[in-house]
Amino acid sequence: MSPVAVAAIVLLVFLFMRVPVFVSLLSASLAYFVMTPGIPPMIAGQRILAGVESIPLLAIPFFVCSGVFMNYSGVSHRVMNFADVMTGRMYGGLAQTNILLSTLMGGLSGSNLADAAMEAKMLVPEMERKGFSKEFSSVITATSAMITPLIPPGIAMIIYGSIANVSIGKLFVAGIGVGLLLTATMMLLTSVLSRRRGYARSRTTRLTGHEIWQAVKPAILPLLLPIIIIGGIRLGVFTPTEAGAVAIVYSILLGLLYREMTPRNFFQGVKETIVSTSSIMVIIGAASAFAWILTREQIPQKLTATMVSVVDNKWVFLVLINLFLLLVGMFIEGNAAMIVLVPLLAPMAANYGLDEIHFAMIFIFNMAIGALSPPMGTLMFVTCAITKCPIGSFIREAVPYYLMLAGTLALLVLFPVFSIGLVNLIY
């Protein structure tokens, strides 16, 4: 058997054996390097270092950190009050608040886990008091946290852009369209379910202008940040990467202004950033080594040739790719999957005449769904760990939302306007 085939088998077997994802990738590379004559083993070390030496990926620690700091700086509460005022009269009151909050926080944070953890802690107890079930509240929290990294800034777009050489600025803009589409479909489904189940609205009366202003005013400064980020990138003041550092400084300033952020919060936030960054980046380093092996063996070319000779229709290709990505997303951490698969699949998609931004969004959305589905749904785990919701009941309650996600994915695939419309408008 060829070394690269052995490496692929080692990868799959180890992944399912509870070997950490990055170690599985490293073991697969190890197998290849040991079995292939004529390659100096030093290259194994070089490739995992080279995978990390990337300026665009610096945005990962930056946006993880800004996400955590936003939670400490008192921003979350202010944005939540604002979201509450906006959605209070909708069916499913607080559930809608929960969804809108994730959308709004999306502009401040690039981390779905930070968002899910924050809302599970802050909103779910309140939802339970208002009569929502624990399962429903948890499902809403976890599912809506998917929106946060779709709205720029988002880590997945940074990684995708840097691997596939697609403008990260454009991917950010495309993410707005996709994120808002998901917000809309999710609010719609929640409204229908709430009406049927008799979940209360938060209010039935209109608020006075004064009351609305009282909620809007504190949220103005936090909600300025997304405008600063997109505007700053668009005007060339800073790069998407540097926007992350700007977001951190802004969150610290707000924290000081609101007198809510303590030195202890600061250190805890830095600690969390280190742990998250390292655990993502070692996967990226290891995946780069593995991807290098595939390139050296010219697997992308061979695979594309095979695919093109077997499937000559763009739509059949899209259906196959979506099924494949959904399956991959269920089992493999999204960032690792992206590093290994984007170099294989992006050229294929280009071959079928698909727009690069459109395909990027399809890819990213599939991976995002994976964070919510068993067996490896990190969003589901983080949320349920905090709300103490059993995974089994979570999954049962989530069925309508899984269907909604599938429907949204179909919209995204069929109508490129949701992903590239806004990009064409702005760029």
Binding site: M42, A50, R234, G236, T239, T295, R296
Partner: protein, 320 residues
């Protein structure tokens, strides 16, 4: 045939050809890439299929720096690199070939590659584990594209010009009075569009392929660097080849280089016309003024501190 014994091949009919892997940053379709396809063909032909060169465009095998490390460690890879890199690899004098206005003509550059000085430098490089295979490859004249019209070299004052991240090119533009700004090429378009920077320098095809003419409309044909490039492999890989194989490899490399240089000239003319058609104004300035201003580069302490004393004169003499 089959009488030549492959160094790695051991005994037997030698059915597995010696395979080299050539990696480079250029994208498919660029002159360098076309010439590499040519080289690969020529080598297979000349060696009767006993030597093979697989090509990996678009940095697929790693960055230039990574590939050089790979070859030093013994991997059979080939990549293209130039003086600025060799300077970082412990042959500091080699950096001067990237100095501003070092060569008046391309023939100066080619004569330098034939000189004793060049042979000495190449030998030093070989001690570092890197062997030059072929040197007569045009990468292109580097020109300056900026977002405003200027009257003379003094107009460069305060202009933020993107340069690659190496000391020679940074100091070269400092000498000309500009504010050199190292930045990844991928970020330059937006940065130009919005005035974060005011210009960049590169060979015309690179400028055109990056669509920089859309956001910077004034071209100065400075030709401040006659950028020739060289193909290298690991000393160990090279020494493991038979004399015949060494000859096949370097000869076909030179042949492909001629092909490359013709393509580069053709592409230059085409590209210049295309840029003009797209509204780029070529500023008619006295390039000699640029050259005179840049001369101070050769006496900057940061630049010369690593050089052999009198290097500039040595090199100027070697190319005449």
């Amino acid at each position: 045939g089959g009488s030549s014994t492959a160094p790695s091949g051991g005994e037997g009919g030698g059915s597995t050809p010696i395979t080299l892997q050539a990696g480079y940053e250029n994208n498919p379709g660029e002159p360098i890439d076309l010439a590499m396809n040519k080289w690969s063909e020529l080598l297979a032909e000349k060696s009767g299929g006993t030597m093979r060169m697989d090509i990996y465009p678009s940095s697929q095998l790693g960055s230039k720096k990574d590939l050089i490390d790979q070859m030093i460690a013994g991997s059979p890879v080939i990549t293209l690199a130039d003086g600025a890199f060799y300077a970082d690899m412990g042959v500091p004098d080699f950096g001067i070939v990237f100095g501003p206005f070092l060569f008046d003509t391309w023939d100066d550059a080619w004569r330098l590659t034939q000189s004793d000085w060049y042979a000495e430098q190449s030998a030093l490089l070989e001690n570092q584990g890197v062997r030059i295979l072929t040197s007569k490859w045009k990468y292109g004249d580097r020109h300056l594209l900026i977002n405003r019209s200027i009257d003379s070299v003094d107009g460069l004052k305060g202009l933020k010009v993107r340069v690659p991240n190496n000391l020679i090119q940074i100091k070269g533009f400092e000498a000309m009075g500009a504010t050199p700004t190292p930045m990844a090429l991928g970020e330059v378009y937006t940065a130009l569009q919005t005035g974060t920077i005011d210009g960049l320098e590169n060979p015309l095809p690179v400028l055109y392929n990056g669509r920089f003419q859309e956001v910077a409309k004034y071209l100065i044909l400075t030709g401040h660097v006659r950028n020739f490039t060289t193909w290298i492999t690991g000393t160990a890989t090279f020494n493991a080849l038979s004399d015949e194989q060494k000859q096949w490899l370097t000869e076909t490399g030179d042949e492909a280089g001629v092909f490359n240089n013709e393509k580069q000239d053709l592409v230059f003319d085409e590209t210049l016309q295309k840029m003009k058609d797209e509204g780029v104004t070529v500023l008619d300035l006295d390039i000699n003024e640029f050259k005179q201003k840049a001369q101070s580069f050769y006496s900057m302490d940061e630049v010369t501190k690593n050089w052999t004393p009198g290097l500039y004169d040595t090199v100027r003499a070697a190319m005449k």
